[in-house]
């Protein structure tokens, strides 16, 4: 099923499975061709002739983290709006449609203003809502529904999707190799001539997405609460989808401004992997995307999370069995300690021979599962998060104690060189597995280029090999402290 999504899981996936590169992957990375268009767009091409298909990714260096408090949820709703067509696609008659879209916006904005006023007349709101419904109905007559999807569909495209993360936004599709020009034509048209149709209906869809992914899901609810607790200042604290009141007040004009500034060549990475001729493909990409105006670089986020000065604990009441998450602040790539954490993640929870699995699941039998990952992004300092599913009758306090004993052991006993070697081999092999398939390679190149430079992948193994047992011990002492910790428990509440 196709879904226009975001959601943290996508990002987790990227972060867990697509960490960095290996010596055996170098032959593939040697095939990467990097180009810069005159308007600033980066183009990465990898010819791969295994099957007559192409994976096409377009990423922008902008995501939820770049939103101000007035803009929370903008990047994500924009992603939805960018599936609504252009001046030529998705419409029977754009000229007739345009004034109607303006009217819809005016009425919608009036409703939003009134809803925020305590003294608003409910009858007036109702009247406006009826008026909006009428206009929407009239507008629908001029709409050609989901035409991008239709054209990609009839041409054999699969996996047409997009996701908005904290650090970046990606639009992707896989096409039969002979249809690559279709992608270039549609995607460049969408960047140049996007029309935001059906805005207020789509805002409701986003509310449903929020209910589904966070409010009705114990995992989503815990994750959202964890971030909002561990971060006080940095925008990593906010859900990409926005809080409910954010979504209620998102406005089409605001989204348009965000779009025109940042979804532009200077912030854009195009990645194509598959069965094509690089030279001809580059020319085609230049022809379609070279005409776009460069745009404005996304400004760096200046908010800095102050050092945490003491443990934070939160309890969530929800209709589900208990769950536990523990998080520690840590630096992001390319900080040297980020490589140390890559090793640490393997040692702690990767596989049944990992330390936490052995202790918590097999020996003490306190939990049925334990996972450790980094989140919520990679551009700014992030978190190492431990997630545990307690066994029935086991107390979260006992589980926490057992976890802290294992973490403390890392502070007093050096890892053996055999342990380090295994962790490195596992990381390198997981990268290699990520390269199977055009989509995997495209996603990896695209995400690292968007974060900085895909050559990070080439250099990665060397950096990983420089990590010593002493580095691991020193990092655990520095970061895995009670003062730097956030603990979230979910329990069946009395409500």
């Amino acid at each position: 099923m196709q879904r226009i999504i975001i959601i943290f899981l996508c990002l987790l996936f990227l972060l867990i499975y697509t960490i960095p590169a290996s010596s055996s992957s170098h032959t593939i990375f040697e095939k990467v061709q990097e180009h810069r268009l005159i308007n600033g767009a980066t183009v990465l091409l990898v010819e791969r002739h295994n099957s007559p298909t192409v994976a096409a990714y377009i990423s922008f260096r902008v995501g939820g983290v770049n939103e101000t408090s007035q803009e929370r949820g903008v990047a994500h709703l924009l992603e939805h709006m960018l599936f609504k067509g252009t001046k030529t696609l998705g419409t029977k008659d754009y000229a007739a449609e345009k004034p109607l879209l303006e009217k819809i916006k005016t009425v919608g904005q009036q409703i939003d203003v009134l809803r925020n006023r305590h003294d608003a007349d409910p009858e007036e709101i109702q009247q406006l809502q009826d008026q909006l419904k009428g206009l929407q109905k009239e507008h629908r007559k001029l709409v050609v529904k989901n035409e991008f999807s239709k054209i990609y569909g009839e041409n054999g495209g699969v996996g047409y999707n997009a996701f908005t993360g904290k650090d970046s936004t990606t639009y992707l599709i896989n096409l039969p190799a002979n249809k690559l020009e279709l992608w270039a034509a549609i995607e460049s048209d969408r960047l140049e001539n996007a029309v935001f149709r059906e805005f207020y209906t789509e805002r409701d869809v986003v509310h449903e997405e929020r209910r589904r992914s966070y409010e009705s899901s114990p995992d989503g609810l815990m994750y959202e609460t964890l971030l909002a607790t561990a971060y006080k200042v940095h925008p990593y604290r906010n859900p990409v989808i926005g809080w409910n009141s954010d979504i209620d007040n998102l406005d089409p004009d605001q989204i348009r401004i965000f779009f025109e500034k940042y979804y532009t060549p200077v912030n854009m990475v195009i990645t194509l992997v598959g069965d094509f001729d690089s030279e001809a493909t580059l020319q085609m990409v230049e022809h379609y995307f070279g005409k776009l105006a460069p745009g404005v670089p996304v400004p760096p986020v200046v908010d800095k999370e102050p050092e945490q000065k003491g443990e934070r604990r939160v309890t969530i009441n929800f209709d589900a069995e208990q769950q536990l998450m523990i998080a520690y602040h840590k630096p992001a790539m390319p900080h040297k300690d980020d490589y140390v954490f890559d090793i640490l993640l393997q040692i702690l929870s990767e596989g049944r021979s990992s330390r936490l699995y052995k202790t918590l699941v097999v020996e003490k039998q306190l939990v049925t599962d334990v996972g450790v990952f980094t989140a919520p992004g990679s551009r700014y300092d992030n978190l190492m998060i431990l997630s545990m599913t307690p066994r029935y009758g086991c107390s979260c306090t006992d589980i926490e104690d057992a976890v802290y004993v294992e973490l403390d052991r890392l502070k007093s006993e050096l890892l053996t060189s055999a342990e380090l070697d295994v962790a490195r081999k596992q990381i390198m092999t997981s990268i290699l597995r990520g390269l199977e398939g055009n989509g995997g390679l495209a996603r990896m190149l695209s995400s690292y280029q968007t974060l900085g430079d895909w050559h990070y992948l080439v250099d990665y193994e060397k950096q990983l090999n420089l990590v010593t047992a002493e580095d691991v011990m020193s990092a655990t002492k520095r970061y895995l402290r009670a003062d730097n910790r956030t603990v979230v428990t979910l329990i069946r509440g009395e409500n």
Binding site: M1, Q2, R3, I28, N39, N50, S51, T53, K87, T88, L89, K145, N146, S149, K150, I151, G153, E154, G156, G157, V158, Y160, N174, N178, K179, L182, A185, D189, T201, E202, R203, D204, V205, V206, E208, R211, R212, E215, S216, S217, P218, K291, A293, D319, A320, E321, E350, G351, R352, S353, S354, T368, T389, V422, T429, L432, R433, L435, E436, G437
Partner: protein
């Protein structure tokens, strides 16, 4: 300096793009070269031990992937031992081998960065092993020993049992899995496909059960092995022959599948959970792969709810009304016995009645009215033109080939697939919709805050049954 250059560019480019605007080409008017596509070759061989081996060499990356398919699965779970196949799969994967304790096995495989998983599905067990090329010899030795001489160490088996009990304890955490369970129970009463394990059943599984399942199914003559990656055929065959040497296969008794119960009368099943959104799951019995209408149904379902944003359900429920984020319909084409027809969505509790009514209307509509030529053409073109993605990576190529043979698909299934889709007509779509879609005889499961929609639901023309989730824990 650089900034100035950008400014200049902006002006120039805006200029260029404006002249283009008036003559904006529609992307679907582009003309494309023909696609060159050949069915990838898969080498097939029956080994001396009886193993059916399928290989696709691929030397791009130094990795080797193996997937073994073995007869078995949940269809053979006795009703008083529901979940046994899952218990077996997890015990096999974690219980060690004759020469390696569970911990030795895990340490050795993880030291090679290998990934081993064992899973159970309706009609089989699947063992997956992913290896670095350099560890091939030792990896296949361990693989062979696990298949042939599993240890089922008591401590680990007890751990698996405890995990299954925990799953039972947590079965009401997630609304989607509650809905799936209740639908299965409603459609398949008294059949393994609808049965749900109880704590008493899980506690009754014995070591003897494990040994018996192993003895019955794990014999090289019943192995279907798909291998892809950086390996030569001769090398692979030598390694496998060594592992399976002198391992006799006894004649298997003919397969006996418990027949499915008759389709139940339509009803609505309500399960209350304190969440702001209702999971809507509807379903009734569908078809198996042997049904010649499977192609027409695929086209019909694409139009109804299978074609993502090109489907009517997505258009009506999500795009026009903003009532849901996810909505789709699906025919599970049963590999041996018929599978289910399913409709799934989630909507805020307040609009539950509206969504249920709308979904039923859409099913009725595709039965009552012919689809348009445009809808038919889009569905067919999409299914035909995306066919090439079935062959996009080596392991899925070889795995698919194994599955087609294991489930006795016609030999020319893949070669004729596109032609069969192309020949579906508007009349076919309506005929199969009428024959296989039953909006009045459907099970409708609703998991959410029932207070907000119960009254509305009770006005519908179907009996309503309420399930107390606390009693199912």
């Amino acid at each position: 300096m650089r900034y100035f250059l950008y400014l200049l560019l902006i002006i120039l480019l805006f200029g260029c793009s404006q002249t283009r605007l008036g003559q904006q080409e529609r992307p679907d008017n582009l003309i494309f070269p023909a696609l060159v596509f050949h069915f990838p070759e898969v080498t097939q061989q029956r080994l001396a031990s009886g193993v059916k081996l399928y290989l696709k060499e691929d030397h791009e990356l130094p990795l080797v992937n193996l997937t073994l398919l073995v007869e078995g699965g949940s269809i053979y779970d006795p009703l008083d031992k529901t979940g046994l196949s899952q218990f077996f799969a997890q015990s096999l994967s974690t219980g060690g081998t004759e020469s390696l304790s569970p911990q030795q096995l895990e340490t050795e495989l993880e030291g090679m960065a290998a990934i081993l998983t064992v899973s159970s599905s309706k009609y089989g067990y699947e063992i997956d092993l992913s290896l670095n090329r350099q560890d091939l010899k030792r990896g296949i030795e361990i693989f062979g020993e696990l298949l042939r001489r599993p240890r089922f160490e008591a401590e680990r088996v007890e751990l698996v049992r405890a995990q299954l009990l925990e799953n039972i304890h947590r079965r009401n955490d997630d609304p989607g899995s509650i809905a799936g369970r209740l639908l299965g129970e409603a459609i398949y009463p008294g059949h393994p496909f609808g049965a749900v394990p109880t704590a008493a059943m899980v506690n009754s599984f014995s070591r003897n059960d494990l040994l018996e399942l192993h003895h019955r199914y794990f014999q090289p003559g019943h192995f279907w092995l798909a291998v892809s990656g950086d390996i030569q055929q001769s090398e692979l065959v030598a390694l496998l022959d060594q592992q399976f040497e002198n391992w006799q296969t006894t004649e298997s008794s003919p397969r006996e599948l418990p027949p499915l119960p008759a389709a139940p009368a339509g009803k609505i099943i309500l399960a209350d959970k304190q969440i702001p959104q209702t999971t809507v799951l509807m379903g009734h019995p569908g078809i198996s792969k042997d049904n010649p209408d499977v192609f027409a149904l695929q086209v019909a379902n694409y139009i109804l709810g299978g074609g993502g944003f090109n489907s009517r359900m997505m258009r009506e429920v999500r795009s026009d009304r903003g009532l849901a984020y996810s909505v789709y319909s699906y025919f599970q084409v049963g590999r041996r016995l018929p599978g289910l027809f399913i409709v799934s969505s989630e909507t805020k509790c307040e609009s539950t009645g509206e969504v249920v009514t709308l979904l039923k209307q859409l099913i009725r509509q595709i039965r009552d009215e012919p689809v348009s030529t445009a809808e038919l053409d889009l569905a067919k073109a999409s299914l035909i033109n995306s066919f090439v993605f079935a062959f996009a990576d080596s392991h899925s190529v070889v795995n698919r080939k194994v599955r087609l043979d294991y489930y006795d698909y016609p030999k020319d299934y893949l070669e004729t697939y596109r032609q069969r889709i192309a020949s579906v007509t508007i009349a076919d779509v309506q005929r199969v919709a009428q024959q296989y879609l039953h909006p009045d005889n459907i099970q409708i499961v609703l998991v959410g805050d029932g207070q907000l929609y119960r009254d509305e639901i009770e006005k519908m023309d179907l009996p309503v049954e309420t399930v107390d989730l606390q009693l199912t824990q």
